[in-house]
């Protein structure tokens, strides 16, 4: 006896009609509720974004427009922000680089001027001008789980160390510009820097370095940052310059001191 034959046996059951109606109602209802729930969520966030954008526009007008122009169109001293996306704003404002403290060669990392909500508003406003990379949610970056330290190290040495130094301590660029140290930088900002290429940094698109590889890089940077001083005091992890200083000052310095003492003792 086939299942169909079994079902057909109940086809003329007295409850067949009502059961079918209920089942149809449940199907229709839940389909409708799912279908209606999706746009309504979008609508809600759209409503939030509208206020956010307005809020962001206000902050932008008071805090950013003097350099970047009233409509983020840029000026002779600052670039246009149309199309840079929320990620760029989140990085620049979230790490305190923007607004700049002074017109130096490069915006430096400092305590942020705007709080998280204000930064999000600014990001929403700039993102509303033209599409661009969206901000990264730090909670979604599970680099500890998804990254590979050794692979990240290889990628870091190939793509990042030439400016940021072998141990991510930062390095000099031309004309007073510099690649900052990556010690203590939040993972999401490292990620955003890679996708937006702030200041002198190139953009590492997802084709150049895949999202998974980006997580590996972050994992390696964090491993380097948290690595205990394996050989003793690190002298800054900047190579032989500080080692040479230490050899002369502490090494030969103390030995000369002892030599003077020994020569005095003999008299």
């Amino acid at each position: 006896m086939t299942p169909f034959a079994r079902a057909s046996k109940y086809r003329r059951h007295k409850f067949a009609g009502p059961v079918l109606v209920v089942a149809a109602l449940i199907t229709m209802g839940s389909a409708f509720s799912i279908a209606s729930a999706l746009p309504s969520a979008t609508k809600m966030s759209a409503a939030a974004t509208t206020t956010q954008i307005a809020e962001g526009k206000k902050i932008f007008a008071s805090g950013c427009s003097s350099c970047h122009g009233l409509n983020a169109e840029g000026s002779s001293i600052a670039p246009a922000l149309i199309g840079v996306g929320a990620a760029s704003v989140d990085f620049q404002v979230g790490t305190g680089r923007m607004p700049m403290a002074d017109m130096s060669q490069q915006a430096e990392r400092k305590p942020p001027k705007y709080n998280a909500a204000e930064t999000a508003a600014l990001a929403a406003y700039v993102a509303s001008l033209a599409p661009g990379p969206s901000a990264v949610d730090g909670a979604n970056l599970n680099y500890e789980r998804d990254g590979n330290t050794a692979q990240g190290g290889e990628l870091f040495r190939t793509n990042c160390a030439m400016c940021h130094n072998f141990a991510a301590q930062g390095g000099a660029l031309s004309q007073g510009k510099y690649a900052p140290t990556l010690m203590g930088v939040e993972p999401k900002y490292i990620y955003e820097a890679m996708i937006t290429g702030p200041q002198s940094m190139p953009i590492f698109s997802d084709k150049t370095i895949t999202p998974a590889e980006k997580l590996s890089i972050i994992k390696w940077i964090k491993a380097a940052q948290n690595e205990p001083a394996l050989g003793g005091a690190t002298t800054g992890r900047v190579g032989p310059v500080t080692e040479g200083l230490l050899a002369w000052l502490l090494g030969l310095g103390s030995l000369i001191g002892i030599a003077v003492w020994l020569a005095t003792k003999a008299r």
Binding site: C163, N165, T234, V241, L246, A247, W248, L250, A259
Partner: protein, 530 residues
């Protein structure tokens, strides 16, 4: 005679009857050496060399000087499964999987830095005190050879682990080889057994680093010390010290104890540094691949000036007859160091030629009493310091918030301006110090006590200095300029007039002195002293 004495005496007698050692030992164990802290700088170099031999031998037990590809599988997690050379993998193994390996590696590297630093300090002491003068010119040459070999040995040493930094250094060495006109590319191909990086360079430099150069060091150091022994040690001027004697303490027991103790101290300082301070953390650099480089790649300090010179050189290149000549590497990488080291090696002969001084010297100069030499030394040091500072220009730029371009331009200008300036300033300071010495001898020490004379005049009371001190300040012989003779006794013009003129002018510059106080002057003043 106790039992012990009888046994020792028996053994000593046995040895002496067969070798005749007693007479030799008796003479040499009593050999007198002068005492001064600055005479111990060379000792530091010697002791760090011994430490280098010992710690280096330890490292060879595990180091695999091979560029064969391996996949790392040791206990340092961030490099797990990374492809690397066996040289790098074995250095990681020494650092993390050999008991005491990292400590030994760090001791070896710190001892190397200390070795070079103490050699340089020793060289400066010998230069500024004129210890290189006759009869010690040969020992000066050996010393110059040692410092040159030391630079090479150090470079080869930190090139061996095949980490990212050392590979970068080798790459630059290859570039310098290639910059030699015409034959450069052939020499580079020969050294690397083909194209860079190849597979033979590290095995080759390993042999040079652990066999050839240490052997050369041992030979040169032995001759260096034998000459010190044979020619006797120089001493600072002072009462009772002449060109014919040595005032000091006997080797046995004073210097045996001091030298033994000092060796222990040098070992202690090196071990302390190795234990508390990280040096060359190769695991952070990662394995070398030609496609990678780190910002702020610097050589160790004794190569730093060379790097600084290369960094400041403008991009000059000429193409002629199908050959490229990279002046930007050739000049700072080969020509300038060549001139510097040749000049340093020849300096004793140059000075003797200029001053016409062919006497033997066993008493050292006080640097102020030879203003020209001291100023030349300050000039060379300034040149080196400007180069060295430019070698770290990127770190200075980031740490002092400066522009790397500004530092480079300051170095480019400074390398020409500052050394002559240092010469002039140092020479003036030396002459002023000579005048101060003269005042001290003739008028005594300022006591700071003011006395009012009966007629109301205030004078500061000067206290005569001790005769010993007066002797020390006045006993040196001041150089006399060679006069420029254009004709001989018969009125015939001498050949090489231009060279002779140049020599006499250099000689008079060399002889520029504030007149030293003489005994008659002192007596004259004493007679009518206030």
């Amino acid at each position: 005679m106790s039992q012990k004495e009888r046994i020792i005496g028996g053994v000593a007698n046995y040895v002496d009857e067969r070798t005749g050692a007693a007479k030799w030992l008796n003479k040499n164990l009593k050999k007198v050496f002068p005492d001064h802290w600055s005479f111990m700088l060379g000792e530091v170099a010697l002791y760090s060399f011994i430490i280098l031999l010992l710690s280096g031998t330890f490292l060879t037990f595990w180091f695999d000087p091979s560029q064969r590809d391996v996949v790392y599988n040791g206990s340092y997690m961030p490099l797990q499964h990374v492809q690397m050379s066996a040289a790098y993998a074995s250095t990681l193994h020494i650092s993390f999987d050999v008991r005491g390996g990292l400590l030994m590696r760090q001791i070896h590297h710190w001892a190397a830095l200390l070795f070079m630093a103490s050699i340089i300090a020793h060289l400066l002491r010998v230069f500024f005190t004129g210890a290189f003068r006759k009869p010690r010119e040969a020992n000066w040459l050996i010393g110059v050879g040692l410092v040159t070999l030391g630079i090479v040995e150090g470079f080869l040493g930190y090139s061996l682990p095949d980490d990212l930094l050392s590979g970068t250094g080798i790459r630059i060495a290859e570039a310098i080889l290639q910059a030699i006109p015409v034959v450069g590319s052939y020499i580079a191909f020969f050294a690397f057994g083909g194209a860079f990086p190849g597979h033979v360079f590290i095995p080759r430099i390993y042999t040079v680093h652990v066999l050839l150069l240490p052997g050369a060091f041992l030979a040169l150091i032995t001759i260096h010390l034998m000459l010190v022994w044979y020619q006797k040690h120089t001493q600072y001027p002072g009462p009772g010290r002449t060109e014919k004697n040595v005032v000091g303490y006997p080797l046995m027991p004073v210097y045996m104890a001091k030298a033994g103790g000092f060796f222990g101290i040098v070992f202690g300082v090196t071990a302390f540094l190795g234990a508390v301070a990280s040096i060359n953390p190769i695991w952070l650099y990662g394995p070398y691949t030609p496609g990678q480089i780190s910002a702020g790649s610097q050589p160790d300090f004794y190569m730093g000036w060379l790097d600084g010179l290369v960094r400041m050189s403008p991009p000059l290149e000429t193409h002629a007859f199908g050959h490229t000549i990279s002046w930007n590497i050739l000049i700072p990488g080969l020509i300038v160091p060549g001139i510097l080291f040749t000049g340093m090696a020849l300096y004793p002969f140059i000075e003797s030629y200029i001053s016409g001084d062919k006497r033997e010297h066993h008493l050292l100069d006080r640097p102020r009493n030879v203003p020209n030499r001291t100023a030349l030394g300050a000039m060379s040091l300034t040149f080196m310091m400007v180069s060295l500072i430019n070698g770290g220009n990127d770190l200075i730029a980031t740490h002092f918030h400066m522009s790397i371009n500004q530092i480079m331009w300051m170095s480019r200008i400074g390398i020409f301006i500052l050394p002559p300036l240092a010469f002039v300033i140092t020479k003036r300071i030396c002459l002023s110090l000579q005048r101060a010495d003269r005042d001290l001898v003739l008028h005594g020490r300022e006591t700071g006590r003011l006395v009012m004379l009966p007629h109301g005049e205030f004078v500061e009371v000067h206290e005569p200095i001790s005769p010993e001190k007066a002797w020390t300040l006045t006993s040196h012989i001041q150089p006399v300029a060679i006069s420029h003779v254009t004709e001989d006794a018969n009125g015939v013009a001498k050949p090489k007039a231009l060279i002779n003129k140049l020599r006499s002018r250099m000689s008079s510059a060399n002889a520029e002195q504030a007149p030293a106080a003489t005994i008659s002057e002192a007596k004259e003043l004493e007679g009518g002293h206030h």
